[in-house]
């Protein structure tokens, strides 16, 4: 696969007027199209520690806690045109659970567009791309082949992976007794994701399921140290490979509030791993998607 040049080379080529090289608006799109993720959701990202393009964020929590709905919310905010309060950017959504619901995304868009005509919806959806992956090996190969897409779509600013933990047990079984073998494909995926995010100035949002329960032994593991520091009860026990733990810069824990059968209120605890800053937010999920309280 051919490695394409980075924006700096394009800037020089543009100045000297080399033929066949990205000119004017395309160059600006490459430089500006990936520059505005702070505006993607001010409730989550408007602080001094807020993630900018080139960072990896993990949404962690049990099923039914609003992680995927939050991804639809961020997707809608990104692909909506600037005139409608969006970023006018492109999104690549990698679905490993095969539960992406295009009807749900269209419903969210319809509620957010001032004029929800079919043409307006299609215009937004033209900035959305979906990939299904059925194994960690296919995920790794797909990430390699998608590099061309990142080069040819300068407005592509958001990469979503729902979910990264889908193949955890399958990889454990396929790796036999060796932990290194069990984790080797995910390790390569993590390293490649970090490289792609840094090279193409993307923001990656990846979801992981809570499939391990918090240990009752208080002396064990980094997860318990985190719980002692915060005044929020977060059920978190890291189980994915170390390579993934190292590339994540920001972890957001999702949970459901109130009586799980009737409540549509959810909460999330956002933790910046470098500064250890914690913030709690509440949101509800309605017809138009996520609404922060």
């Amino acid at each position: 696969m051919q490695r394409l040049s980075r924006p700096k080379a394009l800037t020089f080529a543009h100045v000297v007027g080399l033929p066949g090289v990205a000119q004017g608006p395309q160059l600006l799109a490459r430089l500006e199209g990936r520059s505005s993720l702070k505006e993607i959701e001010p409730h989550l990202f408007a602080d001094e520690d807020s993630p900018v393009h080139g960072e990896i964020l993990e949404f962690h929590g049990p099923e039914g806690t609003g992680k995927t709905e939050m991804l639809y919310h961020l997707t809608a905010r990104c692909i909506l045109p600037k005139s409608e309060g969006g970023l006018g950017g492109e999104v690549l959504f990698i679905d490993t659970d095969y539960h992406f619901d295009i009807l749900r995304l269209v419903t969210v868009l319809e509620h957010r567009l001032s004029e929800s005509s079919e043409e307006a919806i299609k215009h937004c959806l033209g900035r959305f791309f979906l990939v299904y992956c059925s194994s960690s090996t296919q995920l790794l190969l797909t990430l390699y082949s998608l590099e061309t897409m990142f080069c040819s779509h300068p407005s592509l600013c958001l990469l979503i992976l729902d979910s990264l933990s889908a193949f955890y047990w399958i990889d454990r079984v396929n790796g036999g007794e060796s932990v290194n073998l069990q984790e080797s494909t995910l390790k390569k995926c993590s390293q490649l994701l970090e490289k792609l995010v840094n090279e193409y100035r993307l923001a990656l949002f990846a979801t992981t399921q809570s499939i391990m329960q918090k240990t009752s032994n208080s002396a064990e593991g980094p997860s318990c140290a985190f719980n002692r520091q915060s005044d929020v009860d977060v059920d978190y026990r890291p189980y994915l490979c170390k390579a993934w733990q190292q590339v994540v810069k920001h972890r957001i824990f999702f949970s459901k509030q109130g009586d799980s059968k009737t409540s549509n209120q959810f909460s999330l605890v956002s933790r910046h791993l470098k500064s250890n800053n914690l913030k709690k937010h509440f949101f509800i999920i309605g017809e138009s998607g996520v609404e922060f309280c």
Partner: protein, 79 residues
Amino acid sequence: MGVLQARLCPGLTQDMVQLLRSCGMKTVMDLVSADLEEFSAFPFSGTDLYEELKTSTAILSTGIGSLDNCSMLVSILEK
């Protein structure tokens, strides 16, 4: 061009070499010539997904208005 061997590059373990040989790739040239895109997933555009949705999906009423609304609410909560 060289035969594929373990440690030819950091990612090439003995297991990987055997796996590649089982797929008929014995030399570096075989590997480089392989079309990785055959094995990777193909991205769909949102517009195509929407067109497919319109042609393949119908929303049917149960005949009971409150039940129709309830089903939609259940669908949202499951996400």
